[in-house]
Symmetry: C2
Subunit: 290 residues, 2 copies
C-alpha cells in the first residue's frame, strides 16, 4: 500500500500546509519556510511519531503538533547540512541558501527550530526533554561527521556518529509518540529503541547507496567516510557492500523485534512497512549490482 | 552596589560553570561551549529572570535552569551573529568561528539551543512557549536587520526590528521568571512589558554608542542603519544623538513604571538598578561629547 495514502501522511501534509499558511511572518520568511517544508519530503519521522502514539493507545490526531515539531527540526537540519556541505540541490530544487543567501537560510533554520519549540510546548515534560536531547545529539553527531575526515574514524566512531546524527531524531519521534499515547517509561523505551534501530539502518542504507554511486562512477578519491568505506579498508568493495547490507539487516531485525513487543495490529503492520520502506526496500538488486 | 556581587549573579555563574563541566560531550564541543559561555558576559538576562521570579513571590533558586536556558540561547545568538557579520573579536577574544571553524561554530550554536530546550523542559508550558516564541522573534528580527541595508527602513521598521531581535529575549526572561514565581497572566504581562521596554532601550543604547564611535572616527560611509542614523536623515548628528537619548529615556521610564506595579522591595531596587546599568549608565557625558 502506498504510504502517501495513509491517514497519517495525509494528516501531517495538511497540518504542515495549514501551519505554513497561517504563519504571521515576513513574505521572505514564509517563502523560505514554504521552500523547505513543502518540497516533498517523505514525512517518515512524523509518521513514525503518529504510529507510536497509536501503538501506545492514543489517537494520532493528538500528536500532530509534536509531529510537525519533529518535521520542522528535520527541515532545519537539511538547510544547515546544505550550508555546511555547500549543497546545491535538495529534493531536485536549489538549496535554501542558494535561493535566499547564507544568512537568511541560517536564520530560517533558527526560526524553524524555535517554531518547533513553540509546537512541542503543549506536550509533557518528557516530550520536551527528548526533543531537546535529540537536537543535542544531532549537533554532536554532525561535528563528529565533519571531524571524521581528519581523525582516526573506525567502526565504533561511525556507529556513535550515525546514532547521534541521524538515529536520535527517529528515536525521539518514537518516544515522544509513545508519551503522547500515554506510555509508561518501559514502553517508551521500547519505542525509543525501535527509533534508534530503524534510524541507524536508514543512515547505513543512505551511506551504501552513496558508496555504490561513487564506486560505479569510479570517483574513488572522493569516497567520504561511511560504513562500506570502513569495511573496504580490509576487503573488496563488493564484499564491503554485502557486509554493510548484512549489518542493515541486523538493525532492521532489531527494529522488528521491538515492534513485536506490541500486539499485532494495523498499526504494527504499518510500522513494519515503513521500516522496510526506508531501509531494505531501497536496496534493490539492480542498485547493488554493478 | 556591584552587580557581580549579587546573589543572583554568583548563582548563575556557578550554575554555568557546573553545567559546562558536567557536559558529556566531545573535548572540542566542551572547549567551544567554554569559550562562548564562560567568556565574561554580564549575565543580564538570567539575572532579570531570577529577579522576576522573586518579584512574583518565588525563590530564585527555582529559576536557575530557566536562566541557564536563556543565557545559552543568548550565547548561541552571539556565535551566529559573528558568523553572519564575519565578526573577528567578541568580548576581547577571537570569535568562535575564527577559533574552531564555521561548521563547528554553527553546530555549537545548535547544541546550545538544544541544551537550552532540555533545561527549559522541566518548566511549565507557558515558559516553554515563551521561550520558543522569543527564538522565532529573534530570527525574524535578525532577518529584518540584514534586509535593512537594502530596503526602505524607517522608524517603524527599526522599532519592530529591535523589538524582535533584542527585546524579545529580555521579555521572555521576565515573563518566564514571572511564571516560575507563580504569577498569573496579568502579572506575567507586566513583567513581559518591562522586558520589552528595557530590552528596547538596551539596543538603542548599543546603537547610539556605535554611532558615536563611527562619527568620531569620521568613517561616515560605514554608518549602519540604527536609531541615530535614521534621525540623522533630517537633522545634524548631534541632534540625532540627543534625540535618540531622549527616546532611550522614554523606554527606561516605561520600564520603571512596570517595576512600580510591584510593592517596593530589595528586588524592585535591583531591577531598577539593572535597568539603569544596561541603559542610561552607559551613556556617560564623556562618551556622548565629541
Amino acid at each position: 500500500m502506498n504510504i502517501e495514502q495513509w491517514d497519517e501522511h495525509i494528516a501531517i501534509k495538511n497540518a504542515m500546509d495549514d501551519l505554513i499558511h497561517s504563519l504571521d511572518v515576513s513574505a521572505q520568511m514564509k517563502e523560505m519556510v514554504l521552500h523547505v517544508c513543502a518540497s516533498g519530503g517523505k514525512m517518515v519521522r512524523p509518521i513514525i511519531l503518529m504510529l507510536s502514539t497509536q501503538l501506545c493507545g492514543g489517537r494520532f490526531e493528538d500528536s500532530i503538533d509534536a509531529s510537525l515539531a519533529i518535521e520542522l527540526i528535520h527541515s532545519a537540519s537539511l538547510i544547515q547540512d546544505d550550508v555546511l556541505d555547500e549543497g546545491i540541490l535538495r529534493r531536485g530544487m536549489p538549496s535554501t541558501h542558494r535561493m535566499f543567501g547564507y544568512s537568511s537560510a541560517i536564520l530560517c533554520g533558527d526560526f524553524l527550530i524555535s517554531k518547533a519549540i513553540e509546537l512541542i510546548s503543549s506536550y509533557d515534560r518528557r516530550s520536551v526533554r527528548d526533543f531537546g536531547r535529540a537536537g543535542m545529539h544531532m549537533s554532536e553527531g554532525e561535528i563528529m561527521d565533519i571531524m571524521s575526515i581528519n581523525e582516526d574514524f573506525g567502526m565504533d566512531e561511525y556507529m556513535e556518529c550515525i546514532r547521534k546524527k541521524t538515529a536520535s531524531l527517529f528515536a525521539a519521534s518514537a518516544s515522544i509518540g509513545a508519551y503522547v499515547g500515554g506510555a509508561d517509561e518501559k514502553t517508551a523505551e521500547v519505542c525509543r529503541s525501535f527509533g534508534y534501530n530503524v534510524g541507524t539502518a536508514y543512515q547505513m542504507v543512505d551511506d551504501i547507496l552513496e558508496y555504490v554511486q561513487i564506486i560505479q562512477s569510479k570517483e574513488s578519491e572522493n569516497i567520504s567516510l561511511s560504513l562500506p568505506s570502513i569495511y573496504q579498508r580490509r576487503m573488496s568493495p563488493e564484499r564491503a557492500i554485502s557486509r554493510s547490507v548484512g549489518l542493515v539487516e541486523e538493525y532492521v531485525s532489531s527494529a522488528r523485534s521491538e515492534i513485536a513487543y506490541f500486539k499485532s495490529s494495523q498499526v504494527t503492520d504499518k510500522l513494519l512497512e515503513i521500516t522496510d520502506y526506508i531501509t531494505l526496500d531501497m536496496l534493490t538488486p539492480d542498485i547493488l549490482q554493478k
